[in-house]
Amino acid sequence: MTELTFPLPDLGEGLIEATVLEWLVEPGQQVERNQAIVELETSKSALELPSPQAGKVVRIHGAPGDTVNVGEPLIVFEVPDDTAGIVGTVPKDEAPKRRVRLSAVLDED
């Protein structure tokens, strides 16, 4: 297993920071890609951030009311070693991800 850290992404419109309103996931929780993970407020609007990754949440950064700068760590996932996105494995990364998502849908049915 590998830990994968995601920083607060560039939110566009020249924004450099966001305030955490509420976390929608917690450490230990398994999340799907694109699942909403946190509510944030910027100087312009409030938004939900979708998860960039499927995996188990290891850590979250910023309590409600805290400010996080763009580029600072926001969330850390634990993922299998072969999906950690190491340079050179990117093409391999695509196919398994699709299979995982397909089987997840079948399971729900």
Binding site: L21, L24, E39, E41, K44, S45, L47, E48, V105
Partner: protein, 275 residues
């Protein structure tokens, strides 16, 4: 995710002119068989900011709802017409009627959950929804009005002071006017001329909630710290006086800006409209 998709509705003229409003239809993966939901965003926002980025489109799609989103004139990806008439609330309501009809909404028929349309508005969008529901009782089934108010801060906007400020930097005395102008200037994508045209047009048709009140069931929602929605109880009383079944919900700790992403708000709206 299978089957969930979004398409842009094609444009055509209404009353002889093309309103140029950007409309999208968001289909759910599994349709619950209920009437479509029209989303009306607030001043200086857009369907993207108010509904997409905040997670509303996803939440409604997951509930099996078909969604019609529209950007107000001069907002988001809609045109910024030169003429003032395009920005009047009455013209915008006529455009909404055409848009929902084009999207397949049909007049309400007793016992048929696919007929009619549900509406969710936020702030200025709630004002427009209030009037739309009041004037389209045969079409609108239920409405959720977020950050609603009996007041009309846009009609009270000091246009002369704003124009002086834009011309030579003269400070604006009225705090509400200064705040609204700042909001309009925050997004580089906003067309300031169009924002001021909308304000000018709204001054011609200021909000009077008692003049025409909706009769269908209403859910009014605001953040506990939302000063702009402080008059929500009065608005609820007006609707109740006119015979509407009104529920209200205050979301703890939230403001006019940040109540929009609230899970409690979305869940209450989905449940209220899910009948």
């Amino acid at each position: 995710m299978t089957g969930r998709h979004t398409v842009e509705q094609h444009r055509h003229t209404v009353e002889g002119t093309d309103p140029g409003l950007f409309v999208q239809i968001h289909e759910p993966a599994n349709d619950a068989g209920l009437r479509p939901v029209l989303l009306i965003h607030g001043f200086s926002s857009s369907s993207k900011l108010n509904w997409q980025d905040s997670g509303w489109i996803t939440a409604l799609q997951e509930a099996g709802r078909r969604i019609i989103s529209v950007d107000l004139p001069g907002h988001g990806r809609s045109y910024s017409p030169e003429d003032l008439d395009s920005y009047t609330p009455s013209r915008i309501r006529a455009d909404f009627l055409q848009i929902v009809t084009d999207a397949g909404a049909r007049p309400l028929r007793e016992g048929d959950p696919a007929t009619g349309v549900d509406v969710i508005g936020y702030s200025l969008g709630s004002r427009l929804a209030w009037e739309f529901g009041a004037t389209q009782p045969d079409l609108v089934h239920r409405m959720v009005l977020g950050g609603p108010s009996t007041a009309d801060p846009l009609a009270a906007f000091d246009l002369a002071a704003a124009q002086r400020h834009l011309a030579d930097g003269t400070p604006i005395n009225d705090a509400s006017t200064a705040g609204l102008l700042k909001m309009a200037q925050l997004l580089p994508s906003n067309n300031l001329f169009a924002m001021l045209s909308l304000i000018e047009a709204i001054k011609e048709e200021p909000f009077d909630p008692s003049e025409a009140a909706p009769h269908m069931p209403l859910l009014l929602v605001a953040g506990e710290k939302d000063e702009r929605a402080a008059t929500m109880p009065e608005l609820a009383a007006i609707a109740a006086k006119h015979g509407a079944n009104v529920e209200t919900l205050l979301i703890p700790g939230r403001t006019h800006t940040n109540v929009v992403t609230s899970r409690a708000f979305k869940e209450a709206a989905v449940e209220f409209l899910g009948v």
